[in-house]
Symmetry: C2
Subunit: 320 residues, 2 copies
């Protein structure tokens, strides 16, 4: 009997939040800022995945709890650094850590959360077995983050580069979630490896959905296509650069993407989105996200996270 | 037969440099920037200590090499982040990583070097035993770094706060060097613990020497008392705040220390140094550094790093 994401959240979220806050309960500005960041919210997906997967593999979910705490802390450490790097002033409606505590401390807070995550891994019953994989995952996340900045100054970004960026930035930590949880559940090595590959693919799927949601999300949102304003190379933009037929339209698109954020009017953003539609880039993205969903649903590991892949499509289902 | 620091440098530096550069040999801006930073120089003291200590404890120095690579990478990762945080534009005459590669990538480079260091620890023959201690040391370094910024906005910094800051920022990694090396040399647990305490004290001694060198260093240097210009709370400044008799002089000192960097003239710096002398703060610092040297020289662990404590005093010996 497998349990759904909603059941997993109800069962594991209180313990996850409690343990996570214990790790940042200390005195001083670093822990105060870490608590401030964690209290700004978030779905805690990376934290819930390990106990959820472990439970659905028939083992004791508590064996996945420290791993969930670890991976959620690591994820949030990267977000604190991301906000410094992107110059983002707000996250979920609240001033970001660097806005509230200053840039020097924000660098310290992000680094601290990463290493508090590593400390939690070491506390898990399988910590010694997986610490090397988690460490490599963190290196991959940072490399993906670095590639994202490189892509923004690349005159001709490609889909392969986007894939490498997403595999690092988003895929590596999902891969670590599935690897760690499957190992903690006592599964054989080949099943652990397969689960890790599923997690890596799931990360790319999440990132592609995120890119598309920014372009086709419902009109109720305050801001649409913020990636274009921020100069981010979403998958549809990389598709347009690589295979978009109308080169004048692509040149205009990239002029808008590369314009400074404050010079990008909402009319320019609307024009860029219209170009992506006209070139077929958004259609291509929707086709790819559907293909990825089908591939993930056919994977044996999918049974340990029932309904997750379908759930990710919900916010963009109207456009599929 | 123990070997001196000069002999250790001659024997181990080429392998240390070679292995360290192998870890950052990859393609892409992250590795390019890491190489750029490493090539800017440095004494490699944290890298040389483990093979030197292991050799002087009669074990195979190769057992300390991966540890040296690890701890030197970790140290340099923190330096890259420090330069971002302090806004320092140059290090050893070269533009800092953030000046050369931009702030977002400098955050990535620093984090990458920290986790490449952790990966090297895991590669060492004793990696699994000490990874938890190294991880805690990194958390302590970052906490010390955070405390340094907090001290700069503290109206009444104390010597105890300075000690906590130095114990984290500088002591933690030296403690890890001695702990890791003594463990790698196969020494019993109580000797490992004693060596770790020696390393922690050595770190405070180094930091105090560094603070004093900035104030009493030879007059040939381009800049003196840069800590005062940068608003750093050196140990003599903390001493003056806590026990300096003339409160008007202390108030004037702190007004100069807290003035914005660009508003701090060399006349103001000279005045601050004169106040520190008049209050007896520099004399107190020199007395303390001599006491620390005596304590370190009397410690059993000192035999594994012959001449190091004396060597540290050389640049300030004229003032003792």
């Amino acid at each position: 009997m497998t349990i759904s994401f909603e059941e997993a959240r109800e069962r594991f979220l209180p313990a996850l939040e409690g343990r996570m806050h214990e790790t940042v309960a200390g005195a001083g500005v670093l822990f105060e800022a870490a608590r401030y960041h964690l209290d700004s919210g978030g779905k805690r997906l990376r934290g819930l995945l390990p106990p959820w997967i472990v439970a659905n593999l028939g083992a004791e979910p508590a064996r996945g709890l420290a791993l969930g705490v670890a991976l959620e802390l690591i994820h949030n450490g990267t977000l604190v650094h991301d906000d410094v790097q992107d110059g983002d002033t707000h996250r979920r409606g609240m001033p970001t850590v660097w806005m509230r505590f200053g840039l020097p401390q924000a660098v310290n807070v992000g680094t601290t959360m990463l290493f508090l995550g590593v400390a939690e891994v070491l506390r898990s019953p399988v910590g010694a077995d997986i610490i090397g994989d988690v460490n490599l995952a963190i290196l991959d996340i940072v490399a993906g983050q670095a590639l994202e900045f490189e892509l923004q100054t690349n005159p001709a970004p490609t889909m392969a580069q986007w894939d490498r960026m997403a595999a690092g930035k988003t895929g590596a930590l999902f891969a670590a979630c599935f690897l760690a949880a499957t190992h903690a559940a006592g599964r054989p090595r080949d099943e652990v490896r397969a689960a890790s590959r599923y997690g890596a693919e799931l990360g790319i799927y999440f990132q592609l959905q995120d890119d598309l949601l920014d372009l086709v999300g419902d009109k109720q949102r305050d801001e649409a296509a913020t990636d274009i304003a921020e100069g981010k190379i979403s998958w549809p933009v990389a598709w347009a650069c690589e295979v978009g037929g109308d080169r004048d339209a692509v040149a205009r698109l990239m002029a808008i993407v590369n314009a400074p954020r404050l010079d990008t009017s909402s009319a320019m953003i609307a024009e860029a989105v219209a170009i992506l539609h006209a070139l077929g880039a958004i259609r291509a993205g929707l086709d790819r996200v559907r293909d990825l969903a089908a591939s993930l649903l056919a994977h044996p590991t999918n049974a340990s996270v029932p309904g997750l892949v379908e759930r990710v499509l919900d916010p963009i289902r109207h456009a599929l």
